[in-house]
């Protein structure tokens, strides 16, 4: 029970986040649209953050993923907790063929060099 207690709590958190939704499914290099719930006062709205998944970290309910995009010529990266209750859904728009688990090299590249080769597999439409 001792080691299992933490697993149980973690599984519960994951289950809660996935309630009524499919488990989020995306890969490194995918262009994703992350719908984030934003609270303003007592109103709640959904905002989308579009970018490339350059890293996935952690496991269980600690799992996070990093999305990078260029806005107004400035690179912006956001780290999202995968099972955050504030993530409404994640849509995969395009998949890329990448050979690395972490695409940190994209940070040094700009313009045409920062493109990724598109994967030939059909992009899976998945929502969290």
């Amino acid at each position: 029970m001792i080691a299992k207690a933490i697993d149980m709590i973690n599984a519960e958190q994951v289950a809660k986040a996935c309630e009524g939704k499919e488990a989020p499914e995306f890969k490194i290099g995918d262009s994703v649209k992350v719908y984030v719930k934003i609270k303003e006062g007592d109103k709640e709205r959904v905002q989308a953050f579009i970018g490339t998944v350059i890293a996935r970290d952690g496991g269980g309910n600690d799992a996070t993923f990093t999305v990078r995009r260029i806005t107004f010529g400035v690179g912006v990266e956001k780290v999202f907790p995968l099972y955050s209750p504030y993530i409404d859904k994640i849509e995969v728009e395009r998949s890329a063929r990448v050979r690395r688990a972490k695409l940190y090299y994209l940070r040094k590249l700009t313009g045409k060099k920062a493109r990724l080769r598109e994967a030939h597999r059909a992009p899976k439409k998945s929502s969290k």
């Binding site: 029970m1 001792i2 080691a3 207690a5 933490i6 149980m8 709590i9 973690n10 958190q13 809660k16 986040a17 719930k37 609270k39 309910n61 600690d62 907790p81 099972y83 955050s84 209750p85 504030y86």
Partner: protein, 208 residues
């Protein structure tokens, strides 16, 4: 009841109702059988002795076995005494569970901190140490420990290398994140002293 005996299980994170990630320590708390009730008439003060974690009878002394037998409680590895508030009544043999923290917002958790063995001053007292480059000879050393003929001695209490850890420490005013009665688990925000599986004492916060 003021507090309970528990066991540190480990740390993880949970999301609160605002979607924030909260680091939590999971503690297995109780159920603790009441081994002995001390009263003003018999002992001069009001208190209860609680037990925690079963122990095989052959590992106990005969006198302790009888002590548990008297309360019709299975032998416990750990016993601790907690003060009993005036007017509160418990009977020997009853079980006290984590439920006593249901309406509690803050707790103090004390336990024996992790032992670090003989440690140098950098780890033990967060000294800066000497320079690592440019031919530094005093990389992790203490440095000067005092002046010359005056005062002619090292000041008492001078921070020097020595044994670190394995002492009783208390983490105060930890927020209770979750009380899981059926699993006997308590989730508190932040870290608590001691290793995993270490025995800790959980009390209602004294200063909040």
């Amino acid at each position: 009841m003021e507090g309970l005996i528990g066991k540190k299980i480990g740390m993880t994170q949970v999301f609160d109702d605002q979607g924030r990630r909260i680091p939590v320590t999971v503690i297995e708390v109780g159920p603790c059988p009441v081994v002995q009730v001390k009263t003003t008439e018999t002992d001069g003060y009001n208190a209860v002795q609680l037990g925690f974690e079963e122990q095989k009878p052959h590992r106990m002394t005969k006198s302790m076995l009888k002590h548990f037998e008297k309360a019709t409680v299975k032998p416990c590895r750990i016993t601790r005494e907690f003060p009993l508030a005036e007017g509160e009544e418990v009977k020997a043999g009853e079980n006290v569970t984590v439920g006593i923290f249901d309406d509690v917002k803050y707790v103090d958790v004390s336990g024996i901190s992790k032992g670090r063995g003989f440690s140098g001053v950098i780890r033990r007292y967060r000294f800066a140490g000497g320079q690592q480059t440019h031919g530094g000879h005093s990389k992790r050393r203490v440095g000067s420990i005092g002046a010359c003929e005056f005062p002619g001695e090292v000041q008492k209490g001078k921070k020097m290398p020595g044994h670190m850890g394995s002492v009783n420490r208390k983490a105060r005013n930890l927020t209770v994140v979750q009380v899981r009665g059926e699993d006997n688990l308590l989730l508190v925000r932040g870290s608590i002293p001691g290793p995993k599986n270490g025995v800790v004492i959980i009390k209602k916060a004294l200063k909040k």
